[in-house]
Amino acid sequence: MSEYTSDQFKRMNIDDLAMEETSMQAPPRFFKDAFTRFKKNKGGLIGLVAIGMILLLAVIGPMLGEHTYNVIVKEHIDLPARIPWFEGFGLFDGSVQGYNPYVNRGLTDVYYWFGTDNLGRDLWARVWMGTRISFFVAIVAVAIDVVIGITYGLVSGYFGGKVDMVMQRVVEVISGIPNLVVVILLMLVLKPGLTSIILALMITGWISMSRVVRSQVLKIKEMEYVLAAKTLGATSFIIIFKEVLPNIVGQIIVMTMFSIPSAIFYESFLAFIGLGLQPPTASLGVLISRGYQAMLTYPHMVLFPVIVLSILMLSFNLVADGLRDAFDPKMKGF
């Protein structure tokens, strides 16, 4: 207590500028912050990596093998998987249930990494071609969700009243019709194929997105910054797109991610029951449908497309989960 000098007790003039502090750090902004949190989510990262790898294989896969996806080779029908390096270890050596058709037919220098189907087509190439279709369907699903789903939800939620009531009743009617019925009806009118699937998605696939968006809009439209925008004379259009939408972007991204695996599965399921794409088009669903019929004798035909489909869907779900946690932090600052 005694080692103080009188100098230290002189009055100081604190610069006025020093007083108006804000948070010293610039806390990271919305997306950067979420990105950091996402990086910590192991599941999400694994999913992201897996999607990346499958995407890569979908693009270059068919070109890697020696065979093409739609050439029918009578001599090579029903061949199990045979992969060069692995066969040294007794795996993927082309044998099934004790017998080896490669040996039996004298195909010593022929390799099919995923085997062939019942018409001798290379399954490796077909699986990756099928995956391309799955990704395509994913993109279409997202586009529909965004364009139709978000807009519908924004308008319905923001304007409320009679507009909302009518729009919600319409949604209820549409969602009341089973998806399969819609698809079958479309099949009657159009040829089975990608167009009909896209149309089916356009009619039903955006509904859950619109509901989520609507509930978020209902929450936000009572916030005071929206009221402030009104008192400053902003039109509804400006308010919806400049005040409301930026605040629900996080939710939208998450919902979009979740809608992808369901769209992919939807296509595969339709193919499986024979309503969607048809052979020779190679979608994962088509392959599974065919492979399923020979499952007990030649399991490889169903196994590979199933594994790829499963990994793809699981990965999207993991990424969506990770994103949802990243955008919705539970930990508070104090």
């Binding site: 500028l17 108006e20 804000t22 948070s23 610039a26 806390p27 902004r29 919305f30 916030m223 005071e224 910054y225 009221l227 402030a228 925008a229 009104k230 008192t231 400053l232 004379g233 902003a234 400006i238 005040e243 930026p246 605040n247």
Partner: protein, 317 residues
């Protein structure tokens, strides 16, 4: 000393239909005038209708009945574009919740410049920044702050940003809707002093909505006390604080805590009993010049004789 009437509200009614059976009469026939250059406070507790009143005047809600005249223009009922723009340019509102009144995804620059952007009056990028700069400085913040996001500011600072947003429009009239209720007492003082300073500098007229009387005394010229959708007493600050007539006003005054332990310990509080009063059977009666009370002739006589039996008790039930 005949001041101009800036805002004239006559018999304003705002009802909300909850369902077929229930209608909430949030504002139930309210009339008053606000003079140019004054600070007019509207005080009431939750359910009094004070916030609804402000929002009906500025047309966030559309009133069910009554007439509102602002700067000699009618602003109630159907409005054409010209009148709407007139309203938005000259009347502004500041909101209660510092956490919710600023868009979390917008920089302060964009939030404050918003009103100008809507009217296409922001000019070039440079001009826009300049005007926001001035607005921020007038509320005690710094130009550097405009590139930051709301979450980096404290509650009191956010309120000041909200004030800057309103002031940049150079309005003639500001409705301050409970702007200090969500702040600590020490920050309330900051914001109140800022409002007083701005009002003087720009000769603004302010309608100050509050839920308790303590700060109101410091800042207002005239006060209206609201309860359950009605104005129960109205007058100058001196009238309402020193010569309150309505039992509700007296109970409000009685409830204000003072930082003085010795007087607090001996203080006798009074509590309002509304059950025996029917507001719809009363009307605004004059007590003295500029001072009126919601009552009928008998009640007024009774209260002026300081007889509050049935209406005030000293122990809450």
């Amino acid at each position: 000393m005949d001041k101009n009437v800036l805002l004239d509200v006559v018999n304003l009614k705002q009802h909300f239909r909850i369902n077929r059976k229930t209608t909430i009469k949030a504002v139930n026939g309210v009339s008053f005038q606000i003079f140019e250059g004054e600070i007019f406070s509207v005080v009431g507790e939750s359910g009094s209708g004070k916030t609804t009143l402000g929002r009906s005047i500025i047309r966030i809600y559309d009133a069910n009945d009554g007439e509102v005249t602002f700067l000699d223009q009618k602003i109630s009922g159907k409005l054409d574009v010209k009148h709407r723009t007139f309203l938005h340019k000259n009347m502004q509102m500041i909101f209660q919740d510092p956490m919710a009144s600023l868009n979390p995804r917008k920089k302060v620059l964009d939030t404050v410049a918003f009103g100008l952007d809507v009217l296409n009056e922001s000019g070039s990028d440079e001009e826009r920044k300049q005007r926001v700069s001035e607005a921020l400085e007038s509320v005690g913040l710094f130009p550097e702050h405009m590139s930051r996001y709301p979450h980096m500011f404290s509650g009191g600072q956010r309120q000041r940003i909200g004030i800057a947003r309103a002031l940049i429009m150079k309005p003639k009239f500001i409705i301050a809707d409970e702007i200090i209720s969500a702040l600590d007492v020490s920050i309330q003082a900051q914001v109140i002093q800022l409002m007083k300073k701005i009002q003087k500098e720009q000769n603004l007229t302010i309608m100050f909505i509050a839920h308790d009387l303590s700060m109101v005394r410091y800042i207002s010229d005239r006060v209206a006390v609201m309860h359950l959708g009605h104005i129960v007493e109205m007058g100058s600050v001196d009238d309402v604080f020193n010569h309150p007539i309505h039992p509700y006003t007296k109970s409000l005054l009685s409830a204000i805590p003072q930082p003085d332990p010795r007087s607090e310990r001996t203080r006798q509080r009074v509590f309002y009993q509304k059950e025996n009063l029917d507001y719809s059977a009363c009307e605004m009666m004059q007590v003295s010049r500029g001072h009126s009370v919601l009552a009928d002739t008998e009640l007024l006589k009774q209260w002026e004789n300081n007889d509050y039996k049935q209406y005030l008790v000293d122990k809450s039930n």
